[in-house]
């Protein structure tokens, strides 16, 4: 993993954590309910929290055609990519791209961890988004 990541694709989305990244979320003070993406920092009804970095694959699919732009901001050249929901331990089920895994190996319940995802915008600029990769240490 490079020491310096490109600029995050959005403010308030990710934070550096233990040599990698983690996702920011909010906890509603009144109900304790978690929400992602995080609420604006000045929203006094919520506290900022950092989501767990590992979990289990909850569902998945493969995006086989290039999404329409807008809103899609990736390059014109298109390769199919995997998308899934990962149940982050004891927190929330979060949607993201699935990386570093062959499509045929995807299976509900497999251990996953969050990783930084360098994302190329249409104008060639590189941004840091997030994805989930198989968590080899967590297979047991």
């Amino acid at each position: 993993m490079p020491d310096i990541l490109p600029v995050p694709i959005a403010d308030g989305l990710i934070c550096p954590d233990a040599g990698g990244i983690a996702l920011l979320a909010s906890r509603e003070r009144a109900s304790g309910r978690l929400c992602f993406p995080a609420r604006p920092e000045d929203d006094t009804g919520y506290d900022r929290i950092v989501l767990p970095r590992t979990g289990r694959l909850w569902s998945w699919t493969i995006q086989r055609f290039r999404p329409k732009s807008p809103p899609y901001a990736g390059p014109e050249a298109f390769e199919p990519y995997a998308v899934g929901y990962v149940e982050l331990d004891g927190a929330l089920i979060v949607e993201g791209r699935l990386v570093d895994v062959a499509f045929d190996d995807l299976a509900i319940g497999m251990a996953m961890r969050i990783v930084p995802l360098p994302f190329e915008m249409m104008d060639g600029a590189l941004r840091t988004s997030f994805g989930f990769a198989p968590d080899k240490g967590g297979e047991a």
């Binding site: 959005a10 989305l13 569902s59 995006q63 899934g84 929901y85 929330l92 979060v94």
Partner: protein, 382 residues
């Protein structure tokens, strides 16, 4: 005391693509057909509810239909636009305010998948920019998990799509009117695993008009009529799984469909075992399977046997999507939910032609679902 509400007439502009006609014009076509079939004139109509998602303001139809001065209320409620228009008309007659009125829905969408913008849905730009904001992904992931939990295989998805196209052949308002065999469906281009091209419906065009009347008015007219026993529109409960959700609660809950369904059964005083024919939202083949359970017709996982045994075919014990549903008719958002009610109406009065379900049909059930988590259910009785 509240009034009974009847559907006393219906009209439809064929679904599909009609390059020469705007969505509004297709709406006018459907209204005129409904009036003509009922032997009524526009001046007989006391009020209207109508709408489209992407094809203009329904109330401008008065320019073509006649300036009779009636209240014409525009409905813009996304995928539930048609269901909400009917709910408005139903409630208006039930209240006793008017005796006869119109619910109309129409639409005309460009080719290809919908292209929503994050800001319109209260979502941050990155969600769309990174390629996560697609309805097709949501439908694929919902059925993927459902199949894993309940042992449903792609073969059952294929059988649902095959049934839709074979029913569409028999429906003169359907868009896709050619049968497609299950092998072709299963081996067609994969769009979003596990769903292939033939398992998805497409945005399209079309229009439906329904004439609703009070019991007194229906008796006076003496037309073939069905009683609207229930019309319920409900939004999502906590813990449901909806399109465009960056995250879901760990604690899983019900769905807008299960809530609307329960409300409709209660309003009608009947249960799923009483229903003779059903039109269920089939945005893709998996949706029909999941909605069979969410609407109470079977338990999770029983769909495999139901579909293998042909129970949901036109000649089965519970015919489902007898005109081919969204898979064969396409999905003009504003018209789609009313098409389902139209189909139940013509089936119950015995005028469904080549696709007529056999036997005495007493209760018809229709269910539309859409973003961002809204369902409308109607139950009609002959």
């Amino acid at each position: 005391m509240s009034e009974d509400v009847f559907i006393v007439g219906a009209g439809i502009h064929p679904f599909g693509r009609t390059p020469g006609l705007s969505g509004l014009q297709q709406g006018v076509f459907a209204v005129r057909q409904a009036l003509e079939r009922a032997g009524l004139a526009w001046r007989d109509i006391q009020f209207a509810f109508g709408g489209s998602d992407a094809a203009g303001n329904a109330d401008t139809m008065v320019s073509e239909l006649g300036l009779t001065g009636i209240p014409f209320i525009n409905v813009a409620n996304g995928c539930a636009t048609g269901g909400s228009a009917m709910f408005g008309a139903y409630s208006t007659i039930k209240s006793g305010e008017f005796d006869i009125g119109l619910a109309v829905g129409f639409d005309k969408h460009p080719r290809g998948s919908f292209s929503p913008l994050p800001g319109d849905w209260g979502l941050p730009d990155w969600y769309g920019e990174t390629g996560l904001m697609l309805t097709t992904q949501f439908f694929a992931m919902k059925i993927q998990r459902y199949m894993s939990l309940h042992g449903i295989t792609p073969h059952t998805l294929g059988a649902v799509a095959e049934k839709a196209f074979s029913n569409g052949v028999l429906a003169d308002h359907a868009w896709r009117r050619e049968a497609v065999d299950i092998d072709t469906i299963l081996h067609s281009q994969m769009v979003s695993d596990p769903l292939t091209k033939f398992m998805f419906c497409s945005p399209g065009e079309g229009a439906v008009a329904l004439l609703l009347a009070s019991g007194r008015k229906a008796r006076e007219l003496g037309l073939p009529a069905v009683r609207l026993r229930a019309a319920a529109v409900r939004t999502r409960p906590q813990g449901s799984f909806e399109v465009f959700s960056p995250a879901l609660d760990l604690e899983r809950g019900g769905s807008p469909t299960s809530v609307a369904s329960k409300a409709a059964y209660e309003m009608a005083g009947v249960g799923p075992e009483d229903i003779d024919i059903a039109q269920l939202q089939d945005t893709e083949a998996g949706a029909e399977i999941m909605h069979m359970a969410e609407n109470g017709f079977c338990a999770d996982g029983e769909q495999t046997a139901w579909i293998a045994e042909g129970r949901t075919r036109i000649d089965g014990s519970l015919p489902v999507n007898t005109d081919g549903g969204c898979l064969a008719c396409g999905e003009p958002i504003g018209a789609s939910g009313l098409r389902q009610v139209y189909e139940n109406y013509v089936q119950l009065i015995g005028q469904a032609g080549a696709r007529q379900a056999p036997g005495k049909l007493r209760l018809g059930y229709s269910h539309v679902y859409g973003a961002p988590g809204v369902s409308a259910v109607a139950i009609v009785e002959r």
